[in-house]
Symmetry: D2
Amino acid sequence: MKHTETVEITGHLMDTGILSRVLNDIREYGGDWVITGIDVGHDAGDTSTATINVWTDDDEALQRLLMRLQTHGVNMVDPGEAGVEVADRDGVFPDGFYSTTNLETKVRIGGRWVEVDNPEMDCGLIVDDSGASLRVFTLPMSDVRSGMKVVCGAAGIKVTVPVAAKSDGAFGFMESDVSSEKPQAVLVRQVAEGMREAKAAGKKVLWVGGPGVVHTGAAPAMVALVEAGFVDVLFAGNALATHDIESALYGTSLGVDLAQGRGVEHGHEHHIRALNTIRKAGSIRDAVDQGVLTGGIMHSLVTHGKHFVLVGSVRDDGPLPDVYTDVLEGQRAMRGSLTDVGFCLMVATMLHSVATGNILPASIPLVCVDINPATVTKLADRGSSQARGIVTDVGLFLEQLAMELVPAYRNHRT
Amino acid sequence: MKHTETVEITGHLMDTGILSRVLNDIREYGGDWVITGIDVGHDAGDTSTATINVWTDDDEALQRLLMRLQTHGVNMVDPGEAGVEVADRDGVFPDGFYSTTNLETKVRIGGRWVEVDNPEMDCGLIVDDSGASLRVFTLPMSDVRSGMKVVCGAAGIKVTVPVAAKSDGAFGFMESDVSSEKPQAVLVRQVAEGMREAKAAGKKVLWVGGPGVVHTGAAPAMVALVEAGFVDVLFAGNALATHDIESALYGTSLGVDLAQGRGVEHGHEHHIRALNTIRKAGSIRDAVDQGVLTGGIMHSLVTHGKHFVLVGSVRDDGPLPDVYTDVLEGQRAMRGSLTDVGFCLMVATMLHSVATGNILPASIPLVCVDINPATVTKLADRGSSQARGIVTDVGLFLEQLAMELVPAYRNHRT
Amino acid sequence: MKHTETVEITGHLMDTGILSRVLNDIREYGGDWVITGIDVGHDAGDTSTATINVWTDDDEALQRLLMRLQTHGVNMVDPGEAGVEVADRDGVFPDGFYSTTNLETKVRIGGRWVEVDNPEMDCGLIVDDSGASLRVFTLPMSDVRSGMKVVCGAAGIKVTVPVAAKSDGAFGFMESDVSSEKPQAVLVRQVAEGMREAKAAGKKVLWVGGPGVVHTGAAPAMVALVEAGFVDVLFAGNALATHDIESALYGTSLGVDLAQGRGVEHGHEHHIRALNTIRKAGSIRDAVDQGVLTGGIMHSLVTHGKHFVLVGSVRDDGPLPDVYTDVLEGQRAMRGSLTDVGFCLMVATMLHSVATGNILPASIPLVCVDINPATVTKLADRGSSQARGIVTDVGLFLEQLAMELVPAYRNHRT
Amino acid sequence: MKHTETVEITGHLMDTGILSRVLNDIREYGGDWVITGIDVGHDAGDTSTATINVWTDDDEALQRLLMRLQTHGVNMVDPGEAGVEVADRDGVFPDGFYSTTNLETKVRIGGRWVEVDNPEMDCGLIVDDSGASLRVFTLPMSDVRSGMKVVCGAAGIKVTVPVAAKSDGAFGFMESDVSSEKPQAVLVRQVAEGMREAKAAGKKVLWVGGPGVVHTGAAPAMVALVEAGFVDVLFAGNALATHDIESALYGTSLGVDLAQGRGVEHGHEHHIRALNTIRKAGSIRDAVDQGVLTGGIMHSLVTHGKHFVLVGSVRDDGPLPDVYTDVLEGQRAMRGSLTDVGFCLMVATMLHSVATGNILPASIPLVCVDINPATVTKLADRGSSQARGIVTDVGLFLEQLAMELVPAYRNHRT
């Protein structure tokens, strides 16, 4: 017996390829489809709406398919009311829980649509009716507690895809294209513009960085951007912070290497001693306060009152005392730092870029810069469809970005 | 004033390039050198010995340089006695602590040489004279406790480079070469031989794997190798285990995809539900015992009584209940699983390969297989100089390895 | 003033993303569009037809746009009659010449549709009415001669996209996906099946190869495939042939290297002497006949009466006497060898793969195997949309392919 | 019976790793060795000299080995007189011909040392005693003519390795290191300095470029460098010139794409029409003279009287009328353009970089810039050991280089 549902999707269906992705997903989830209606609008700029009948062999598969399709912004024509079940165990959702997208989401409960507080993908939806007004929020699997009310099934849920600034907006570089064959100077200007717009709107700029920022000699450029107010929050691992601090502490010798382009020594000596020095001070801030750490990216973040979240990984030495060694606590700290973020730049890190992509709402513009095309591709594969990728040299890119955003930085070169 | 020391190194100095790396390191650490003697032996097969005077501007730099040189097997001609200081704070070494290499190490204390228990790089050396006999062991920075006695300075320490099976041994493929232009079928045979030798010597085979093992369709080959006894321990992250379990749980649909080569769905649906299912069962073993998990790599490890250590990362969903979310605890569990390991194969993971390279003694043969040359290069850069890299397709490599080591596996193909 | 045309396209528009590529191209060519009708059929398997009004500011741009759209299989609803002009100079087309696609093409002349003889992209269409029946054929720019009649403008032309063996055919692996995360063993079987089908249909199998075939140790596998009849034509450069011959001539030493996996010596000595030896013999065939060359890929091609076309490049040493040093003559020889080709496998060469992609009709199945994702991506970018890419190790891939297609080859391994 | 020779090498043997490469090569050529003497000098800066006995099983192998070793600057202690044989056939050297290196070379004939005119690797040495004074020059295999006198065997030949500007010179960035983790801004300055030095010494700057120069938007930067006199000669293929011309001819639309960073259309339309347009004009210079071509790199080369050599490849469309379609003629034109070249920059092309590396004397500083590490690695593998590699974004690199070398270019940005 076929289990059937009618769904619809609205948007620039014809020229974005989104429809083909939707139909492919139906097949991959073992379903089938027929397009029952398509309205292409009158002008090229108009959005189109497609109505699609989808069916699978059993209801469980259909529910999973419907949730999957929501990641593309496909909603049921007649969503009905959301189902709710109570979690009976810490850290485990009820079977059939609704798995979230990173899109703006509404849930229909008791006949009215409730906006979900904090869109994040791969979470559950918790219904909290304990307060004056009913609230629905996303929660990661590991944080659910017995007794919480969890939305189950795909019914009663509607998602909204962010309005694409397609082709005409200030931030309109091509979505699907990860390419090293791009006029890179133009891309620098577009990222600068995205940051300026976010700041003008009173939003924060979030950076996600890997140690390549230091290795490519871009630390001075990033320091200039911190000082000029274009870095509000930094997500990174132990490596970026340690390499930066190592470079600041053992400035003479490492400075020579950097200035002469001879390649940075990755040897354990400076690295492991830098870690021990900061651990002895107590924390990065303590090291700054004690006059132990007097330069570099971390120093500028501390002295300008900016926020950073460092999360550890299995390959870490040390680590620095500021590093969250428990990755779940690290993720929580990252989530807690997303408020008011209006632009996100990811530089030279696959691990932290994917981690941030996992928790970032789809509505926040996101640019990923790496010399390795695989990093950007992976990011998009994991669901961060809003990600724009730039395959370029991180050192030269940040140098140019600083020259674009910080007039005084230009002079430093001469 | 110059601070000087006379050091020596013995080995195949002329034909391995090791001497040039030593001399470069002296320069990079701000020192200078003169070769005062060189004995090249009589035959091509003889080892050479070089005696070198090194000097720097201050003693601290000299100590650091001497420690650095030990990573290449360079010892002081007259090492003297080791210095020892007491740690005055948890998680912090005394300034000037001796930072370890991953080589066999001896420490001279009270006039006699004591062998270090467990070589590991970037650690401190703890002197324990509380028992009947004096003991020296490596300890990572985060595990040092106030009151422990820590070796400081480079004096009184000797390291031994593993005897290179160079050119003639069963496992003699070229050290410095990371290349995709290699006769790959031959390399498969050499890795098989390395595993057979380890098993014949009563040693364990350690695997370090990434999710690419599952994505490339190599799970059946790896299961065959587990069953045939060629996988004793697995180090991995949440991803390999979850993708494997996901593939086992949602076999029908994913099975079709894998069998038809259409690419595996990375979507959140199956992934996030597989995690919830195992969390509900309690653990991977519980899921096997309850009949929930009935196939795949993790299932075969459990049913054959093999050991695995899963360590989390900041990008994890879930994670599986078996995953260490605290990376320091995860590192401790990995360290605790190295006993009797005689061969290590790293497949398709940069993060866990580097993490394992950090804690593995240099005496254990180590092969790293990845389609991405950067993974192997990075491993060698971080100090795992014994690493042999094979740039190839992981799926086809493991398929061939299983056919080489497991006669019955050949038939499965037809 | 707007210049307008109504075009239509039929196919699996909804689930292939082709429509979005068409609409993007209209914008990139400075045009605009409105979809005036769309017929999605009744069943999921039905093809859809879209009718689109396109316009630009001037007629020349419109003509160029219409030609561009034909590369996607978009035809004018009312194509009219083809325009013809006479070339007035050797090697130069008239302005406004119709630039061809690699699709099956028909031209309307004198009220009837004439099939174009040999589809090839980026050529002109020559009308030859000198014989009994009117003939239209493609001709590259450099071969046009003064006085030839050349089709101009987009009018009077219709193209047909090959019937996609989508999802259900024997050769249905995903079109758009260039990925190293694929179950590679399955892909080997699909390529084997494609070759068997071509041979069963009385067609030829064309190989395009780079020197990586020799370096990865795959020469024995390829020789087995030549002997078993799965290599009818080889397109390559000087390098593949020279490395193969070098390996055959200096077998002992190089053989040892290959057998021990120590990496092949690229040194000038063997290489340059192998070239001189074959030049002295007169040709590769002469060297075989004289007993100078007794093994390897080129030897097996000669002794089994197979055809090869070697075309030179600016980096060549020697070259071998069989190499076309004039690239236009080389292209002509390649074109002349395409008759009856029913399957094409490209292995480990970007230069010759792109060159072959340029002249191959879209109707011939095409698989490109390389460890470098960029090779396959580039191929697809250049217009060979039928190309399927496999990112894998060439040595292991050909080893597996030989085992799949040549039963006797399996035994050779033991 | 062993065939033995005593050879010696002088240089920074200890800290460059050159000795280990020499000894490895002896083994790879089936020989064996014993170091009979080594003189390490007194100071760190002193050169060392090693004396080595080498032997093989037969004399032919020994001769080949001795020639191979000369690529590293290893000479016989007692070279004797050169042997000379007469070529008896066009395009074929006598067996046992001496195969050249790219090092400064002297040949001993009639008791005196004659300097070889034009060092180039993989050629033969022709002795011309027809003139007043005896002359020896390199000649590629394809250009030898019957009756010419060719040096055979390794006797009577001495090579000199260029004085390494190691570590202290203006152009001292690390030789062996191909890395994307380098402070890129510093490398830009070093390349600028290398160019300035060459110009100050009255030498020419040779550029070798691929189409990526245009795709990355670097054409304006390169035009500025042409105008400022930092581009004397350009070696390229059909693609760079055609893409540049295409961009200049169809400026409006392509200009928009470039300015907005939307990715350049590689479609056949503009490309194939640009080719036809220049073919119609007669040549690139004719197109400039006729006012057809008014901008871009090729235009600036023509209007500033700079020289370019375009050599075709098998994948070319068109090609442009200026392109050598015969690769041997192209190589001859390139050789003819090397006079007075004092610095060579290779940008974004593997094919033409390797081709140029093949003919360039080792004494000319050579920098290779590419986003793909494989390009630089390949260059070094082929024998261009003087090559310094920079893995970075070509567009940003040339932008920075122009800002460094052309003060006025800085202003253009604002």
